[in-house]
Symmetry: D2
Subunit: 386 residues, 4 copies
């Protein structure tokens, strides 16, 4: 039996982290072959040159496509998208995969979906149907869903939304969030080891905050002020805090500037990029996650971690009882963190919250479907259901 | 009052023809400025170098973006899309339009929608919500609808479909098909003048067939055979027939090959490209339109012209009673053409058909909305309705 | 011993034909591995989709890079160059060849040279140092020589010119023209077989003309008129004539138009593209080669074939006594062809001409050097000699 | 009289600084119009987003072409070159300049030269004929010279080199370095004002070092170690030192890392980017310029400033008696700086050195030629002189 060639596209460490369990499962499957197209932020020194982690993990890299423009203009991101698309056509034409696989709502997702659509190659899309208002990513995610041929959703709400979008039922599979698969497998680091690796002393007997905040594409101009409000709150609270850089979207440089204004504070520790192993252990040890990272929505409830979500980025998203939503307002942020740290009732509620994003077995489900779904004309010819 | 700058994108004569009434109306409006981005097939000698017609029409051309790859592979079209996107980012960044305007479901529509989405410029999209199964264009059209900010639909059915797709009602305007606006205004040419211009004798007392057939992206391999079946039917019937070349999609070269195998037949006349004036007058004089052109669906009922639609390209599309649908089968095609020419009941039915695509006043409606719709944040931040 | 990986770049049938002997020799060499980057006109249906011949020949194709813009503007060619460059960076980064190999003065040569220079990979360039005034290709060839690290010249004059250009002697090897290697090996076709293959009757007892004419980049506007003059001469002479299409440069479409105006003449036979086997046998049988093809300069003297070279394209180039140079003037062309066919003294002179472009053993020389030249820093760091 | 449209291309602050006097002079000329294409590092936040300075200076910007890849690989630079080329074709096609103008040996110079050559637009190139071994820029500069149509050299040696390269004499004009024009016009800042602007106290009675060091393309791997050696020397000397970031070439990030390891030293002041006004005044006040900036070769002798040039970047370049050449060796660097600061004979020699790069009136000469050189066919058709 001829193996199916799966080409997965990854553009940034965050999506790579979520998809790693799926990649591993494909690699283990006797009837599937995996190759990765590595692009975007992975190839930029400024974002940690994370292709090195992929190499270390041992996956086969089919191509490296540099696509990130060194610019912070509104146009930079979509120009990078065009460059990525131009390069990826060439790779896809060379490899002729049986299935293209991609997650989420970043540039990679729409470039992959366009290539599959025009080149008649089925596109399997992970995490479609989610809803996050206020960001170009939201519209891109829905556009990708209209182009993709196989949908792996992470929750029931998104599954229903895809059906409403006119996607045929036979294309949709609610598998849960593959990111959770990985948390289970991450080895536990001791406090001491973790402190050493981060080069920052973590103690058991004092609060530890973790801050991750990204730009919203419709609020690029406010990027600096938004980050500044968070930093002022952190500064006033004075608890040990570990801050990770925003991702490579336009406006990110402004945020980094705001962060670095506090780089001299002894209780603040800034990391360009926190490797997965350290990151999960950090979440296990943290008292509260602050910012607007999707980890707060998707992974924190699995770990029963309180989250203070700031601003519009995750607004309207399906979430568990571990999240407080606040505005970009110093005092609101302070109050919410204090509640997360000290309000006993609230902390009990978080400890008992139910995770709507699955059971940590998504990868296995995805790979079974990739291996068996009939690659016939019906899969390629999409028909809106109304 | 500052004028609104409308940048419209056109990639091929067919979309340009449909949109010309809108462009004219914008040009006349006291509060709107129009600039065109001309790209794709317009700049190719092989497709008639139709940018010359645009120049002659006097519209302001903001940029010419060569994007068409001289290739017929599955990859050629999406590579051209990438090149177009890369160029259009630059132009948009330079001009900073208030609104981007585009029609349909070709490469131009998705590149324009992506640029508007990422650069926070409202995109007005004409003819969204239509449904044509079996073609990548169908999926692209729906993806564009998920990205665009203002929808000008051409019929009630499409309007309803956009609402089901989760588009907010305030964004959707059923204006009718602007292509019909133009038919009304096209001057009538006498039989003799038309014959001279086409360099082919047309008589009033004998049947006249017009053939326009394009490739379906999921059936590229069959392009030659499909065209061949049509040509065999035309050859067997032996009526005067005018054939126009397919558009620039992959597979088109194969179709042209099949067409040219009959170039020596005296009753067959091949034209690379029929200018609008001649084309409308040809439809007025024709006994039947054969192939899979959207003109058969959209414009023929306005002219009460029988249509034999071959294959899947227009399948499932809202249409009037003037269309017979047949397969790529010589005998079926022959039978349907004979019915269209000689079946008195059928011809009566066509003469009385009702056009579902509006009243020929779309341009005025579109331009009124472009001039007055509030360009506020609400327009840019899309929220799916479920 | 680790094999050296040679990546050769080919963009059009004409350069592929010249380089095939070298490719074969590399393929046979125990210490060299060959991969081809196929780009440009090779991938265009309009130019014969000649990648198929490469596949048939069995060379390993590392990548297909579509780069040809479907346009005839002054900008089309350099835009295609940019697209090719963008794609080739990706391929080179993936393969990391030990040496890049390219011939001539087309887009491929400068893109390859730039990539090698910036990515620190030695570039071996074939046919540098030649001089052909009046064409952008001439300037590009010299620019490539300033970038390339190893020069394989085809004649003594070019070798001396490279030295004057400041190229270090250790980089320059006069190996002769590899195109001649191939002529020796091309099997002889009988008149009858050749006639059948070309679908055109060739007789031994009547003159046979072969016409190949290309555009000059500085005379694009005159392309139609230039071809027209040639065609009028051919038409007036009325001898059997086989005409091959021009290559894919801007203006070529205009030439094709002029050619096709004579397509109905029974003594004229038009071929989009003549495969190598048939082409060499055609030259063996032809009475005279007409136009401005480099074959007249490079290969015809090897075959003792009279050449009427029209216009500026090969002007100033080192040539043997088989070439008459004429202007784009119908009468001059007619006179020169008549002399080539009937002037006994002239025909004797041609029969005795000496070929300045080597002995048909270039491939072997090139490959020996590719296999043994030390790939050290000295090779990469070029130092102009003055 | 129709004005000549000059389109100048600038990609980084360093070339912009040198060319500003020329731009000003063109702007003032009654028969010339100037438009700038701004690309490369100018549009990157990481390199100071220097397009803002251009806007402030009031030049007309025809286009902004983002081209810098956010990457540090060997491929990043040439990929950016391809992107720049693809964008610049579009701009040039739109504007159709009478002359393209560019300086130096960076990506902009070769992209501009290629566009002019293929699109038949004369290219005026500033600073051709220079010789700097060990860098891809050197080969690129010579390649540009083979493509450009008008040469403005900055010194006699380069003029002679261009003639040897086969460039026709009528194309070559020795005008001197336009960068010197500007030094004359830069207003003098007091020590106090300068200290304030740099946010770093400068004193008259203690040594002041200025360090600018860039990557050599053939020594990317050594970038970190090379910068480290310099920084160790600076650290050991302990004098007040102002350090400017390297430019955007591959490897620059590594250098920045080495620099930042000393950011906490009180006597070291790091600036991402020093505006021209402050930079010239800094050179006026400095005791010694250290690194490998071309300012040490070109401008320092005009200011009688001692220079310690480290490594290969400026090796072999025409220079005055103010430069000491040393290796990337801490002790060598220390010794040379000490000699520059304290050796009375040496300091006298520097004070009397003669500048081989002209008299500071280059801009006027360049502009006179741009305004009057006949734009005829002879200018476009280059003929190598041997």
């Amino acid at each position: 039996m001829k193996k199916r060639k799966i080409v997965a596209v990854t553009g940034i460490r965050s999506d790579y982290d979520l998809m790693t369990p799926v990649y591993r499962e494909i690699d283990k499957h006797p009837h599937l072959d995996l190759e990765l197209i590595v692009t975007g932020a992975h190839l930029s020194e400024a974002y940690g040159y994370t292709v090195k982690e992929i190499e270390k993990d041992g996956f086969k890299i089919a191509e490296r496509i540099e696509s990130l423009i060194n610019g912070d203009l509104a146009s930079s991101r979509v120009k990078g998208l065009a460059i990525q698309l131009q390069g990826m056509v060439q790779t896809t034409d060379r490899i002729r995969p049986d299935i293209l696989l991609v997650l989420g709502d970043r540039e990679e997702s729409i470039t992959t979906a366009l290539i599959g659509s025009y080149m008649n190659i089925p596109v399997a899309h992970v995490a479609g149907g989610d809803k996050v208002i206020g960001n170009v990513d939201d519209q891109v995610r829905h556009a990708v869903s209209k182009l993709a041929h196989i949908h792996f959703t992470t929750n029931k709400e998104s599954t229903e939304r895809l059906k409403k979008l006119g996607e045929e039922s036979f294309r949709i599979f609610n598998v849960g969030n593959p990111g959770l698969d990985r948390i289970k497998d991450v080895p536990v680091l001791s406090r001491k080891v973790l402190s050493n690796r981060l080069n920052f002393e973590i103690n058991d007997n004092e609060p530890l905050l973790v801050v991750i905040q990204h730009v919203i594409s419709t609020e690029i101009e406010q990027a600096y002020d938004q980050m500044k409000a968070t930093m002022e709150a952190i500064n006033e609270l004075g608890y040990k805090t570990i801050i990770s850089y925003p991702n490579s979207d336009a406006g990110g440089q402004q945020m980094i500037k705001a962060i670095n204004e506090y780089s001299h504070k002894p209780f603040i520790h800034i990391q360009k990029n926190i490797p997965r192993l350290e990151f999960i252990n950090l979440l296990r040890k943290a008292s509260c996650l602050v910012g607007n990272s999707s980890a707060g929505i998707l992974e924190a409830p699995f770990l029963k971690l309180p989250v203070v979500n700031i601003g519009n980025r995750q607004k309207g998203r399906l979430h568990a009882d571990n999240v407080q939503f606040v505005n970009h307002d110093k005092q609101e942020i302070i109050n919410a963190i204090k509640k997360a740290l000290f309000d006993i009732d609230y902390r009990k509620q978080v400890a008992n919250c139910i995770n709507p994003y699955g059971d940590g077995n998504a990868a296995k489900r995805i790979v079974d479907i990739l291996a068996t779904i009939p690659l016939e004309k019906k899969l390629l010819i999409k028909e809106i259901t109304y």
